[in-house]
Symmetry: C2
Subunit: 570 residues, 2 copies
């Protein structure tokens, strides 16, 4: 491709609306433009990257027994009513009516659609397993779309749905997808990690996220170097500490005037935060709930939500004061039961002895409070946010922390959707059973952003070779080198190499800057000095390495480089 | 691909909701399922066909200098307000609001979006021409979606937009697209014709439709075998007849009691219909309009609409009686001007002499009415529907009629959108000028339906080889032939042939029926007799030909066949 005939509207200025590197660079490299909040046009360079990613994904889905289909984006409301998700999705779902006033949505996902499609058509266990996927736009009306295509309202996804006759089948499908995902992100040239994750609104019990590691990633990942444990912070858990071997002391009430926060109380009483019990108040539709966590821990609201399994929200201080007669900042578990409050507690509360907590009286705390003797708990559960330094739940080594961008998410759904939609098959024993389902998503457009987030420097993008828009960029420094550059361009193109030839009448400085910005992996510079020596200057964008390659061997050298760095694609 | 592991839910029954062969066959062959009126899921077989069509389209668009992008489906209302099409599209546009109450539509087309995208970024004549395309879903809320994916509300299109600095550039872009389209439909293996067409709501002055010829096509095509003229019936024109060489006779009023239609009047007065003037009444927002056509002609409302260039509708008989005091069935042009009615007439009215028309009096007609002497016309224009047998406007030969399915439409838009959106570039002379645009659409999902419409028989689909979901289907008649069939399957697959191997435990009759229904071009049957002779039975689905090919040569023979029938794809 000749640069002069190609549309790459690069920008010199750093766009002010962008926070993330990937967002800035995609704008600057002329890859995307905003059409509305969270809605983007993908320009030619981006489209080339998307197609490369899509091709890798398709090849691996097909290899894993996936069959590609194309389901509607515009979906009738009825099927969403049947699973109850028409209401669950709330404002996040784009809704519309047709000219006859019928309700539709723009699919945020396709469990309802695929299950309805197969229902009544796939009748026998002999037709299973089925693994069906598609690649197309998805829609979520995010309350705060941002970070460019990283969190857009219109985005491209691959979604595969597996249908099996039993748990064993589901496990095989899940394994096949786990392996396919691992191959996909490896083939894309990305550093990534699969982590245990929460299933969220999609439902089901087991799920893994595939995270592209990047310092600006939204997700926090906790992982163990001792074993292979890794989970995102929504899901991560840690080993419990030993219970302190102390004798129980008698409760003491101490004055703590104007000492309401954990930091204030621990400083004032000269104790470590892990001696404190923090008491948080939430509300559901029907009642107040108190949640206890250790003073040095943070509550994991995702875990609490999964436990409650109903809408809940933080209670306001005024409400707590008015309805329960409790002074926020000085609340504690002692006597809460008597006020009709249900008490949930993190498991670590069980390991505490002689704890400190609010006295439920303004400006007072209690010392030497003990579980069972002084207060009781309705339900214990893992409710804390795990953090770096925690002991690994499997091997006890301290957990490490890193950040990542979620690019894939796989779920064991079980029968959640097949039961709701009454989608059954006749098993070998003649009994009608609901399909055992799994679903498996990849954010295609997000991979592109994540790849940039992971691979960039102050000058621009550093594309991993397998998903780069072009493999090679050729620069001729002056008019005299154009014939040689043209010749290399023709030879490489004829050899199947994807070449962008910068044939523009621009100064070398501009060409170098643009080449760095758009991040083509191999830059071949045809300059007067090297050309006189029968050589071409080669620069590897990812590593900064530079070489001189003989002009006569250039095609062979480039092909060898590609084969080495993109063995599957080459 | 093994049939037993592939999802092809064929149906034995002919679905009652389908009228067209293509619709019935796509349902029966397990290619599509309806999700809602005009909204379909494409199952694996259909998806394979779509991908083949898309690949051909992409290759030809790229060859013609097209750059692929991906524009949003969800488009902000503002840009549609700027061109006025937010209102023009009416109920045909799917509209929605986001969570903040902002208006959006689902793009029925992308002129507004692409023009807005390039505006302010493409600044100089040096950056032109640009040819930018995408392939993705489009949305039109058809009042009567029908015929399956032929006239759907959600459908897949390729749309390219050209931006040039002058008319000459536009002509080159248009030519390039015309040629690319010709190559695309040829490569798809379709019988088609490019015809002159009306520009409709898209606007612009020159346009061609590409029609796949099929007897059930919605579009009527008139074409000349003498020259190359071809146009759809909305646009087609014909040569004018000679003006009759008769002396003008005096007007006579004749009683025609209860003879209100052309058929009645011509029978009653014993004259040919071409002696009559038909007078039709229409209304615009501001006035009544009379339109005159010859008694044997039909008015072409598209031509009338283009002439009026404003909303108009047929006037009701009561209105004509009340407001104009005219008796429907007995109306004529004489004296209309005096009633304040504007008179439009088809060009053929100019060639008539001594015509018959209504007397504007119940149960009376006039004879020997003549233009200028007895009535006047405000505007003459080509307003009739051309028909088979008309003389070709270029060479005089009689026009022929056929029917087709519109699969492509190309338009010279000029500055309609660039002017409305104020999208300009600085020309060589330093002057800011609006882009000269063209737009070029292909109905990807419609090609699939049109191909079936053109190629089917009572047993099923007959895919043209280049867009067939698989090139070869292998049938083993019995258990004893499975090893040989398996061997052929492996060899062909290894040679890059797309094979569907029917390895199901089904009776041969079922396998033959399904093979015919899904229409795979080459059927290889491994039966006991032929196998004993070291041969395979070959049947060509398109032509019905059958051969025996030696087992030892099967791969070479299949490859040679493919190369012969799909030279570009092979």
């Amino acid at each position: 491709m000749r640069y002069s005939q190609y549309y790459i509207p690069t920008l010199r200025e750093v766009p002010s609306e962008a926070e993330l590197d990937s967002h800035k660079l995609m704008l600057r490299a002329g890859m995307i433009r905003k059409a509305a909040a969270g809605i983007y046009s993908f320009l030619p360079l981006a489209q080339r990257v998307l197609k490369k990613i899509i091709r890798i994904v398709e090849e691996e889905m097909d290899r894993a027994g996936g069959m590609q289909v194309l389901l509607p984006i515009v979906q009738p409301a009825e099927i969403w009513h049947q699973t109850g998700r028409w209401d669950v999705y709330g404002d996040e779902m784009f809704r519309l009516q047709d000219r006859h006033g019928r309700d539709f949505c723009l699919g945020p996902t396709h469990e309802e659609m695929i299950t309805t499609l197969l229902k009544n058509e796939v009748r026998s266990y002999r037709d299973l397993p089925l693994r069906i996927y598609q690649i197309q736009n998805k829609y979520r009306d995010e309350i705060r779309p941002r970070f460019g295509v990283m969190r857009a309202r219109e985005f491209i996804m691959k979604d595969l749905y597996s249908f099996d006759r039993d748990e064993e089948g589901l496990n095989r499908s899940y394994e096949a997808m786990y392996e396919a995902y691992t191959r996909i992100f490896t083939r894309c040239g990305l550093k990534f990690r699969a982590v245990e994750a929460d299933s969220g609104a999609i439902g089901g019990e087991v799920s893994h996220e595939f995270m592209v590691l990047a310092p600006a990633g939204e997700a926090v990942i906790l992982y163990c170097e001792g074993c292979n444990y890794a989970a995102n912070d929504e899901k991560a858990t840690a080993a419990l500490p030993e219970t302190a071997a102390e004798p129980l002391l008698a409760v003491e009430k101490v004055a703590t005037p104007n000492q309401a926060t954990v930091a204030e109380v621990t400083a004032f009483l000269k104790v470590a935060p892990e001696k404190l019990i923090k008491t948080l108040f939430y509300k559901t539709e029907s009642e107040f709930i108190a949640v206890l966590v250790r003073g040095d821990d943070d509550l994991n609201e995702i875990k609490l939500g999964n436990l409650l399994n109903q809408p809940y929200w933080l209670a306001a201080p005024e409400e707590i004061a008015e309805k329960l007669g409790l002074p926020v900042g000085y609340v504690g578990p002692v006597g809460l039961k008597e006020k009709g409050v249900k008490v949930f507690a993190d498991l670590r509360i069980q390991t505490m002895k002689n704890a400190i907590c609010g006295a439920n009286e303004q400006d007072f705390h209690l010392r030497h409070v003990n579980l069972e003797r002084d207060f009781t708990v309705d339900t214990f559960a893992d409710l804390r946010l795990a953090k770096a330094g925690d002991a690994c739940v499997h091997c006890g080594q301290p957990l490490q922390e890193t950040r990542g961008v979620e690019v894939g998410h796989i779920f064991k759904l079980g029968t959640k959707y097949s039961s709701a939609l009454n989608a059954t098959f006749r098993d070998e024993d003649g009994v009608e059973k609901p399909f055992i389902m799994g679903c498996y998503g990849i954010g295609i457009s997000r991979i592109m952003a994540a790849a940039i987030e992971q691979n960039n420097d102050e000058n621009g993008i550093k594309w991993p070779l397998p998903i780069a828009p072009f493999q090679v960029i050729i620069l001729a420094l002056g008019e005299e080198q154009k014939a040689a550059a043209e010749q290399i361009y023709r030879e490489l193109t004829a050899a199947g190499v994807e070449v962008l030839y910068d044939d523009r009448d621009e100064r070398p400085g501009v060409k170098f800057k643009d080449a760095d910005l758009i991040g083509i992996p191999l830059r071949l510079t045809v300059g007067p000095k090297s050309l006189a020596q029968g050589e071409v200057e080669v620069k590897v964008r990812m590593t900064g390495e530079d070489f001189r390659w003989p002009l006569a061997e250039i095609t062979a050298r480039v092909l060898a480089y590609i084969k080495e760095h993109d063995p599957v694609g080459a």
